[in-house]
Symmetry: C2
Subunit: 316 residues, 2 copies
């Protein structure tokens, strides 16, 4: 099976066809159209076997996670996903693996109407790089740098589930395919509609991929502010509390990566409109703390200041 | 050195700053603007150490080749380069290597005014995936599928030089850093201005990355036509003929990859305007053959039909 055959079999059909794609997979490049007054949002995420997922992870989950990580970055910008390219490095071209990988990719791309428009398939140690392209009306993108003292700090869903799984897998535990914590690691849900819903309401947003403490710290630093939160306000899933106990669950909620929740800041005047919008979301949204002018993110428990949690996911 | 520090040191400054970049490196995504009436062209190319280059290749050349391969794909579409993202997987974060890599990247990006707007730096076996974004006026992109019977087949520069080097390196030869064939492998020149110059003149274009016979075959197949050429008309560099002899040089010109020349088709009426435009190019342009309606690419020597050359670069 050569590259052309791989593209024909697995990466040509079954993906969303969009009217704004003039020329898709199969030429030197993809040709696409933005709407009038729209700006382009470009994000890139790489997953390497052994670094970001266990090499034996189901191919469907590898594909899902790679695309979800990118859709999550678009969501954190308030952008609507449009198109993506896939750079896939494979040690061998095995059809069962490729079949499952393509199924996972098609499924998530289909749900968010995101067209696969190009890419590269090469021989090499297993890794997946996706570049996703999205759009926002000019001026509506949500960056990291707009948070202001007095804003509330919010989080979608709950954090820590994927971090628990990553650690369990690293310790050699065998997890059920339908264990809810395992599923959150394998098939994270990008908060696409939620990110779009934040336009005009949030002053800053980031997606939690390296751990809540680290990522929220980045948002606050980019905005030149700080923040405080009570660790008791952190949303935890029932499955995580049951598996890890409350103390460990809270640690994981602060330091575990890969949950792909959105963490964002909202001025007081926008909190009621936000909660109205969020009533339609399939996930909960929690006000976990507030932005203050003193730099740094501080966590409290029963009012007492905690030592800063250990770092989240480190790429090196 | 963590990811943030790597980005700060090597991937934040010294790259072209463009007025159409609203938000560049450092947020969840990049925010950029296309001009009115422009379409977006997206290309992606991955280079894996051991597959596409020897692992010990100078870091400057690794960066140059990765960006050049993408700029070449944009050129083959007639697109003007604007922005790119970089996904870099590294086994270790070594500052001397990163310094040289960034220098190579900045140098080429600067020459073509292409802004680095984002990416991902991860731990893993050495590989580089670049996604480059370019623009064309709506309707002006050059695909692979417009070649028609009677068109002339043209090639920029000459082919085979990089293929000779790749083979020499695979055989363990030590090559001088300023050997012209070695330099063509390390620092290929993307034909950016040439590709833009082909707008309105060429009916189809492709860049020669996997070998002239294979890539021209793809263009002809996409256009539903075939072609013929005399192997005597192939442009060869003096350095290649001197090193490899004429017979081997011609084989390499047909099968060697990585030269990143443009191969394109031009209708008879456009040949004189093309030659007028090409007079300003720094590289030669050669009419190597013509498009015919019978499918397949056929090469002749002294009028006799040759057996089809062995395949070019195979990704698997």
């Amino acid at each position: 099976m050569d590259e052309i055959e791989i593209i024909r079999r697995y990466f040509s059909t079954g993906y969303p066809a969009r009217g704004d794609v003039v020329l898709g997979v199969g030429d030197d490049g993809a040709l696409t159209r933005l709407g009038d007054g729209e700006e382009l949002v470009t994000v890139t995420d790489t997953l390497v076997a052994g670094t970001h997922f266990p090499p034996e992870l189901a191919a469907e989950a590898v594909a899902h996670r790679a695309l979800a990580a990118n859709l999550s970055d678009l969501a954190a910008m308030g952008a609507a996903p449009r198109w993506f390219t896939l750079a896939l490095a494979l040690p061998v071209a095995e059809s069962a693996w490729l079949e499952a990988f393509a199924a996972g990719l098609r499924q998530l791309a289909g749900r968010f109407d995101t067209a696969l428009v190009g890419g590269d398939t090469v021989r090499g140690p297993l890794s997946v790089t996706i570049t996703a392209l999205g759009a926002v009306r000019a001026g509506q993108a949500i960056g990291r740098s707009g948070a202001a003292s007095g804003d509330g700090i919010f989080l979608t869903g709950s954090s820590g589930d994927a971090g628990w799984t990553w650690q369990a897998l690293a310790e050699g535990l065998e997890l059920d395919a339908d264990d809810p914590l395992h599923r959150r690691f394998m098939f994270p849900e990008p908060r696409v509609a939620e990110g779009i819903g934040l336009r005009g309401l949030a002053t800053a947003a980031i997606d939690v991929s390296d751990g809540l403490h680290v990522d929220l710290g980045r948002l606050l630093a980019a905005s030149g502010v700080g923040g405080e939160a009570n660790i008791e306000s952190l949303p935890l899933s029932a499955a995580l509390t049951a598996q890890a106990g409350e103390t460990r669950a809270r640690e994981l909620a602060l330091t575990g990566g890969d949950d792909y929740e959105l963490c964002f800041t909202v001025p007081a005047d926008n909190e009621a409109p936000l909660l109205a919008v969020a009533a339609a979301w399939p996930c909960r949204v929690t006000r976990i703390g507030q932005v203050l002018s003193t730099p740094g993110m501080r966590w409290r428990q029963a009012g007492e200041l905690l030592a800063p949690p250990a770092a989240g996911f480190r790429h090196f």
